[in-house]
Amino acid sequence: MSAPSPTADQMARFAVSPARKRKDRIARATIFAGTVIALVPLVLIVYYLLRKGLGSWSGSFFSTDPTGNTFFKGSSIGGIKSAILGTVEIVALASAIAIPIGIGVAVWLVEYGRNSWFASTVRFFVDVLTGVPSIVFGLFVYIVLVVGTGSSYAGYKGSFALALLMLPVVIRSAEVILLLVPAALRESALALGAPRWRVIFSIVLPTALPGMVTGVLLAIARAAGETAPLLFTAAATLKTNFNLGQFMNSLPVQIYSDVTSPTTAVVNRAWGAALTLVVMILLLNLIARLISRRSRLA
């Protein structure tokens, strides 16, 4: 028998009371205000960066290396070519290390380890790693790979330090996302006879991909902007260098050392470099987003 249509009395009971309407409005206004608040610093920072950094941008800014020639007014202090290339190389290597390993560990935690004591131990230690100050990663690599082996500063050592920095972020965020993949998806695939590895690679990972891309991008953005881990590991050199086994320049280190210079032109170069770094990271974000969006549709 079909349900009787509601009486006016019943309708009244479920009507939205003015108190609830008010709460709803206040809550939505607060949430909106919170969002606006989140965007205010962004506007301020972008404006500040543009104001201080845009003036330094020019063709030669990107195509010449910084020179140490800062004393003579009128002489060229160079651009930031080696810093840009160095950052790309160091961060690329760090990502190539941290991302596969990080996602691998996250997959293990979710698919195999689950709640075993071993998995709990791993989770515990990864959590502890999230709170390590970025400089300590650099110091660790410094005492193990630089002072410890008596060998010189090198780009790849900086990459190791950055990879250590990225690892807990990638693992944690990937784990959070992987846990949200519905069990039903996995189970139905397994029930259809797909082997475990197939389920992971064809079902679980692609479903989790957009979320993981976000986490990975944040990790890369963080690594690209970190100065402290590179100070005692990768070292700085002014010339462009494609050999990661050598001293290698990077944007954050260049910015950090330039911004304290007494020469105004050098300080301006620092701000130009800061703007460049932000733009680079943003571009990376956008490109990766486009790629991941396309994969979802495919």
Partner: protein, 369 residues
């Protein structure tokens, strides 16, 4: 899927970069492992690390070298000494002279340590007082009292006594000091400790001290910025910085009783009156001499006496190039300094530095020249 493709692409790119580096002949740096290759001077790479104060100067000198790449990492004097001890770099740089423990540690590499004074720098007392021009007279005791928090306003009796005829406002003094460990702090507190026993016992001297009062700012730029932003502020700022930005700074009373402004000449003069120990580990602290600026400090380059025997990472070629670089610094490099508002060594010390360079060797055969 896509992620794997990106990963594969990245892997290929890295591989390509790596191959390019190995095979590249147009790369401007030579790999430090292939040091057996060339012994001819002129082309090569040397590495150094240490003092942040000296970094701009070494980078400037490096840019004047044709065919020689000098990679200098400004990690701080302490880390610079450690790097030399562990043979991470070809030369180290430090502002304070080597402690005996450090000398021993460096000597462990097979050859005694040699420290070579390279140039001098002064520390100005910069202030922000509209209406008061540069050249306010201050002496060590007054500065110490300001930094101890005993002198709180600019028109305090102590300051007035030194500056008769100057109308001083009653603005409160905002004391600014360095928040990071630095040789500049060491030089500044070294001077104050030498002239004021109360400062010595209450605060002491060192790269890092417990300041009884004042705000900390990071780096010379931080202190300079803080001074510029706060009316009534006073801070100790490196000479190059203060001169290039036209700060107002004080003329400080030296040991001989003269009030001296921090010019390049008075800074070099400060080096003249200093006791030079056998290992050249000079430490300029409230020097004598009528024209000396009293708050001056020095900076060194450190190497092992026999670079090759000690095992510099760059090998024989690097040893030769290090000497070439130091030679430049003690020669033409000294005239370059003044254009950047750094002070060169006085003649007496310069001669001793050059003599020290002449003793440097590579596996027994002399490199110096």
């Amino acid at each position: 899927m896509i992620k794997n493709k990106i990963g594969a692409l990245a892997g290929c790119a890295l591989l390509a970069l790596g191959l390019a580096a190995c095979g590249s002949s147009k790369s401007s740096t030579s790999s430090s492992s292939s040091s057996s290759a060339t012994s001819s001077s002129g082309s090569g790479t040397i590495s150094g690390a240490g003092s942040t104060f000296a970094a701009p100067v070494y980078q400037q000198w490096a840019s004047a070298q044709s065919g020689l790449t000098v990679n200098y990492q400004a990690v701080g004097s302490g880390a610079g000494i450690t790097s030399l001890e562990s043979k991470t770099v070809d030369f180290g740089a430090s502002d304070p002279p080597l402690k005996p423990a450090d000398e021993a540690a460096i000597a462990k590499n097979g050859s005694p340590a040699v420290q070579i004074p390279m140039f001098l720098g002064a520390i100005t007392i910069s202030y922000n007082l509209p209406g008061v021009q540069t050249g306010m007279k201050l002496d060590g005791k007054t500065i110490a009292d300001i930094y101890l928090g005993k002198v709180k306003t600019w028109n305090d009796a102590e300051i007035k006594a030194l500056n008769p005829g100057v109308s001083l406002p009653s603005t409160a003094i905002t004391v600014i000091h360095r928040s990071d460990s630095s040789g500049t702090t060491a030089g500044f507190t070294g001077f104050l400790a030498a002239v004021d026993p109360e400062f010595k016992s209450k605060v002491g001297e060192g790269k890092d001290v417990q300041w009884p009062t004042g705000t900390g700012a990071k780096g010379n730029a931080g202190v300079a910025g803080a001074v510029q932003q706060t009316t009534g502020a006073v801070g100790y700022v490196e000479q190059a910085y203060a001169l290039q930005h036209n700060f107002t700074y004080a003329s400080v009373k030296n040991k001989a009783g003269q009030f001296v402004a921090p010019t390049l000449a008075s800074t070099s003069a400060a080096g003249q009156g200093v006791q030079v120990p056998a290992n050249l580990g000079i430490k300029i602290k409230n020097p004598g001499g009528a024209g000396s600026y009293p708050i001056t400090s020095q900076t060194f380059i450190m190497v092992n006496k026999d670079l090759c025997k000690a095992g510099v990472p760059g090998g024989e070629a690097a040893a030769k190039n290090v000497v070439k670089f130091i030679d430049y610094g003690l020669g033409e490099g000294q005239s370059v300094l003044s254009r950047a508002d750094y002070a060169g060594l006085p003649a007496s010390i310069l001669a001793k530095s050059k003599a020290a360079v002449a003793t440097l060797q590579c596996n027994g055969s002399s490199l110096g020249g």
